[in-house]
């Protein structure tokens, strides 16, 4: 299935924010949408220029609660700054013509998750403008509901 079709069958709200917004605004936006775990930062032309995840926002705003901080985190705790100061500016985006089955391989989502805790893959057009997101939860739901998916292949006589 092409990603363009996937976006129609699995509509998911993409959370977006401007780079000059505060981290508190970013947190409010994430908390208002219980399913949203990723914020995509858009520039003045509506192009995706960065990513900021829920975990990153939470660790920055709750740094006071952590017993140990590295020197880098100490400075971050004091200066905080804007979304642009903390966003990851190397966002891996998918195109609408890509195949949904290839998305996990091509974007190495699991490695991204380990490093940046990305759960939504942004889908962009040729001008890099955000069209929607492919959500990891939807991919997982789809995998366990597919007949030939490994998770639903129960042995004969197995638990149904």
């Amino acid at each position: 299935m092409k990603i363009s079709e996937w976006l129609k069958t699995h509509p998911a709200k993409a959370l977006t924010i401007a780079g000059e917004s505060s981290l508190q605004d970013a947190a409010r936006l994430l908390l208002d949408d219980p399913e949203g775990r990723d914020l995509f930062v858009l520039d003045a032309d509506g192009k995706v220029c960065g990513h900021l995840g829920f975990w990153h926002v939470a660790t920055l705003l709750l740094a006071e609660l952590r017993p140990t901080l590295s020197l880098r985190e100490l400075i971050e705790r004091i200066t905080l700054g804007t979304v642009a100061d903390h966003m990851d500016d190397q966002v891996m985006c998918a195109g609408v013509d890509e195949d949904i089955d290839d998305i996990l391989y091509q974007h190495d989502l699991f490695q991204q998750h380990l490093e940046r805790r990305v759960e939504d893959i942004p889908v962009v057009d040729e001008q890099h403008r955000l069209l929607g997101v492919v959500r990891l939860t939807d991919l997982l739901r789809d995998a366990i509901n597919t007949d030939n998916g490994t998770l639903t292949d129960e042995p004969e006589g197995g638990r149904k």
Binding site: T68, R72, E76
Partner: protein, 403 residues
């Protein structure tokens, strides 16, 4: 034998550090140092044939390089701008206060060891005196839920002052290793220019190269590889390995921007291993006879460092118009001295012109680290309490709940 000893030091350090912290609420570094002392030649190390000699120098050089890289990458230029003049001025005051007080005090006392002149010993101790232990201070802030302007200033200052300390230490080493004033200038210039140039270039290459390494594990290989390569080049081409590693960290952060976490996190996770090695190796150099015969110098170093940084930080903060709550407390609460000081002292064991005095310096710094980690922690608590910032985070939460 060396590998067996490292293993023993790490395991005993871990056990004593954790037990001391759990049972007696002592800072973990006390346990680490005691583990090293246990295996010193005068104790278990003698029968075991263990000896801290040349093999420790490579470990110390590389591990101190890792710490210098992390210190160099602690802040970006825009973050430094945000911190403001008050923090910079108070940090400069604190660092220069402790440096000048120890330098003048030890020069006046005139202690010499073998062929090492009094001014050289004083310079090295003064450079080491400028460091602070962020870990010990952070632990108190977290334990007592401190919050307020003094706590904020303190956090910024402990993150910055080790950078200044490493710069001063590198310059002092360069000056001491040269034979005279006329020869010292070109040597110092070369040490600085080559170290900063190669470090900055290394940071650019590292950041660009790391973009092609998706896995964290591969980034760690690249990070350690570049730090070890720079340390080796510094040894071969005679420039400062610490300044080079700091410049490497700074430029990596500069070029990576907000995307830098993956280039620092893997080494930050190694930091405790580095400190266990530093403290246990320092304990390994522990010589009761040296400590007892130089007890006066140890107390003098402790008092001069404390007095110098209290006065220096006060002047620096007042010059920048800091409120009284900051200027009158910040020097006092930064008393703890830790891993960076110990690492610097251990590094001296590999400097030919200072080899005769290195044992004394390591013992002075180890003994005062024990003093500052215990009494210094009390001073930190007292200063924060006097500023009314202990438990302020809890009070703020309760106030929010009641409204």
């Amino acid at each position: 034998m060396e590998i067996l000893l490292i293993g023993l030091l790490m395991i005993f350090g871990l056990v004593l550090g954790v037990l001391g912290s759990y049972l007696f609420h002592l800072p973990r570094v006390v346990g680490y140092i005691l583990a090293g002392v246990l295996f010193a030649p005068d104790f278990l190390g003698g029968p075991l044939g263990a000896e801290a000699s040349e093999w420790t120098q490579s470990i110390v050089a590389v591990t101190l390089g890792i710490i210098a890289y992390l210190i160099g990458g602690a802040a970006t230029v825009s973050q430094l701008r945000q911190l403001g003049w008050m923090i910079v001025s108070a940090t400069l005051g604190k660092v220069s206060g402790s440096f000048v007080a120890v330098l003048v005090g030890f020069t006046l006392v005139g202690t010499t060891v073998a062929d090492v002149p009094a001014w050289a010993l004083a310079l090295v101790l003064a450079a080491i005196a400028t460091t602070t232990a962020p870990g010990a201070i952070m632990a108190i802030i977290h334990q007592y839920r401190a919050r307020g302007p003094l706590t904020t200033a303190l956090l910024a200052m402990v993150a910055l002052d080790d950078a200044l300390a490493l710069m001063i230490f590198s310059l002092v080493l360069a000056a001491i290793e040269s034979t005279g004033f006329a020869t010292a200038i070109p040597i110092v210039i070369w040490e600085i220019v080559a170290a900063i140039g190669l470090g900055m270039a290394g940071g650019y290459v590292l950041e660009r190269g790391a973009r092609y390494l998706p896995e964290q594990e591969l980034k760690l290989v690249a990070l350690l590889g570049v730090i070890i390569l720079l340390t080796g080049l510094a040894d071969a081409w005679h420039f400062s390995p610490l300044l080079a590693a700091m410049a490497l960290g700074f430029s990596t952060r500069l070029f990576a921007g907000a995307h830098s976490e993956s280039l620092f996190r893997p080494l930050e996770q190694l930091q405790e291993v580095v400190y266990v090695l530093f403290f246990t190796l320092a304990g390994l150099h522990f010589a009761p006879a040296v400590v007892l015969s130089h007890a006066g110098l140890i107390v003098l170093y402790f008092l001069l460092r404390a007095g110098g940084q209290i006065v220096g930080a006060m002047i620096g903060a007042q010059l920048a118009g800091a409120p009284r709550v900051i200027s009158h407390n910040v020097g006092l609460i930064m008393l703890p001295q830790g891993g960076v000081a110990i690492g610097m002292a251990l590094m001296l064991t590999g400097v030919p012109s200072l080899q005769d005095s290195a044992l004394l310096i390591v013992n002075i710094v180890t003994a005062t680290t024990l003093l500052t980690e215990t009494f210094g922690a009390v001073a930190t608590r007292f200063g924060l309490s006097r500023a009314g910032e202990l438990g302020a985070a809890v009070k703020a939460t309760k106030k929010k709940e009641s409204t």
